[in-house]
């Protein structure tokens, strides 16, 4: 069962990590590249991906990083989380990035590299 946090529609390739993301610090706000080597997606770019991760952690200013990514055209086209947190939810809301929360089973079933489409207005949100 998916829960809509920010409305919208997107289609693209999944970039998935099982580590919670600290947007302030871990992500380069200009390029969208993960710059913290502790992540399994280190050196990968989140630009134009459907970013799948458990939830956000760290500084409340991480919301600005999400907004900056969007302004620099380096943001994911959608985000899918296991648990919603205020930093990611508010960052996506301001940046108009569709964001949903999915069940643990659904989260586990999404694989890196999958083609996925999200439509929060459709009956079946995730395809």
């Amino acid at each position: 069962m998916s829960k809509i946090i920010v409305q919208g529609k997107a289609q693209g390739t999944v970039l998935k990590t099982t580590s919670p993301i600290n947007f302030l610090g871990a992500v380069d706000k200009k390029t969208g590249v993960i710059r913290d080597e502790k992540y399994d997606i280190f050196k990968k770019s989140i630009k134009d991906t459907v970013l799948v991760f458990p939830h956000g952690i760290g500084s409340s200013v991480g919301a600005y990083t999400i907004y900056s990514l969007k302004s620099n055209q380096s943001a994911p086209i959608a985000m899918i989380c296991q648990k919603a947190d205020l930093t990611v939810a508010s960052g996506c809301a301001l940046a108009n990035i569709p964001m949903i929360v999915v069940s643990n089973e659904e989260f586990d079933s999404i694989q890196n590299g999958n083609e996925i489409s999200i439509d929060t207005k459709s009956e079946k949100i995730l395809n």
Partner: protein, 387 residues
């Protein structure tokens, strides 16, 4: 989440773009935390002030927003990157930084916030009555407000607190409610803990705890230790509240914080045997802490550069009480409107390692500024670094 007719109208853009954006943020954060409604708040404390962290996009966003947006409730703001009164002493800070930081400062002032530029609003203002709903984005301040101030806030994001400042409302969820369950008790096993130990306890609790934790085995810590605990906890996780308890709830999960756990935190954050400079204040120091420091420094002098961060309001009070005389005579540089965390005042071309007693400071020095950290309690810093 249920909205009133008025709130729906604002969300649909009937009261302009600014309020529409603000309500869009509140609806997203409300959905994210399963809130049933919005409730009025009395005070918002905003993060997202330092040009170092919000960058050009943040500066532009605030400049645009401030043409129209005005805060509806008391609003205070976090530290900036620099102290404008001392900027000429830091030659490595370029003009662009100064200009962009000034623009951010002016945007917040235009929106009607109080120019506190402090991560310790609880040291500047009397707190409102117990159970008052507030919206604090600075994590140490949110934890202090919930745990020691009796106020109610979630660990807000920069944008959720900003939306709350503009609308005067926040989603009614999690720590704002009365029926909070606290399923974990951290058992403090260290005797006579210093403020550094409390910072490490907080960092550990933030990692293992969820929204709220109990802490047992602690007898009334002083304010410096309480602030260190709040700072450490806010840095490592999502936990935004603690309670000191005398008796352990039988049903709650117990986790010990002893020598082994402490060493693990210490080894994660302490990466140098000595520092090139010293920083004190993250969270920024209170009047009482400056008073203590001036007494500790009597007849002594720092043997290396020591930056001491406090809010402008506290610095002014400290000057009127003459606490600053002894500190400055000892070579301490008192800086305001900024803090150890994320300040570009620390010149990474000149500085390889920093000595501090702050766990929060250590985390950001290491992970954001990119320098090594030497951790010591204040008493030990004074002993080792002064003559």
């Amino acid at each position: 989440m249920e909205l009133t007719a008025e709130e729906k109208a604002a969300l649909n853009g009937e009261h302009g773009e600014t309020l529409q954006t603000a309500y869009r943020i509140l609806v997203a954060t409300g959905e994210a935390t399963n809130a049933e409604k919005l409730v009025p708040i009395k005070w918002a404390h905003l993060s997202g002030v330092n040009y170092n962290t919000i960058g050009d996009s943040g500066e532009e966003f605030l400049r645009e927003l401030s043409k129209d947006a005005r805060v509806k409730v008391k609003a205070t703001v976090n530290p900036m990157g620099i102290d404008f009164d001392h900027i000429s002493e830091f030659k490595h800070i370029d003009d662009e930084f100064v200009q962009k930081q000034a623009s951010i400062r002016d945007s917040y002032i235009r929106m009607g916030v109080e120019p506190t530029f402090s991560c310790t609003p609880y040291d500047i203002f009397d707190l409102p009555e117990k159970n008052t709903q507030v919206s604090f984005a600075e994590s140490n301040a949110a934890i202090f407000a919930n745990s020691l101030g009796g106020l109610k806030t979630n660990k807000e994001s920069a944008f959720s607190a900003l939306a709350s400042a503009i609308t005067g409302k926040s989603p009614y969820s999690d720590l704002r409610k009365d029926d909070i369950t606290t399923p974990m008790t951290i058992r403090m096993k260290m005797d006579n803990p210093s403020e550094l130990d409390f910072g490490m306890l907080g960092f550990f609790a933030g990692k293992v705890g969820d929204t709220s934790v109990n802490i047992s085995g602690v007898s009334k810590p002083n304010r410096r230790s309480c602030k260190a605990l709040c700072g450490g906890m806010g840095t490592s996780g999502t936990c935004a509240k603690f309670q000191f308890v005398d008796t352990e709830d039988e049903k709650s999960e117990k986790v010990d914080f002893g020598k082994e756990e402490m060493n693990e935190v210490f080894d994660e954050l302490n990466t140098a045997e000595k520092g090139d400079i010293i920083t004190l204040g993250s969270p920024q120091l209170s009047l009482e802490e400056l008073s203590d420091l001036s007494k500790m420094l009597k007849g002594k002098s720092f043997q290396k550069r020591c930056m001491i961060f406090c809010s402008r309001a506290v610095q002014e009070q400290a000057r009127s009480h003459n606490y600053t005389n002894e500190i400055e005579r000892a070579g301490g540089e008192i800086l305001s409107d900024c803090c150890t965390c994320l300040t570009p005042l620390i010149d990474t071309n000149e500085t390889d390692a920093v000595t501090t007693n702050s766990i929060k400071g250590a985390y950001y020095l290491k992970n954001s500024t990119g320098v090594d950290v030497n951790l010591k309690p204040l008493a030990k810093i004074i002993e080792d670094e002064t003559k």
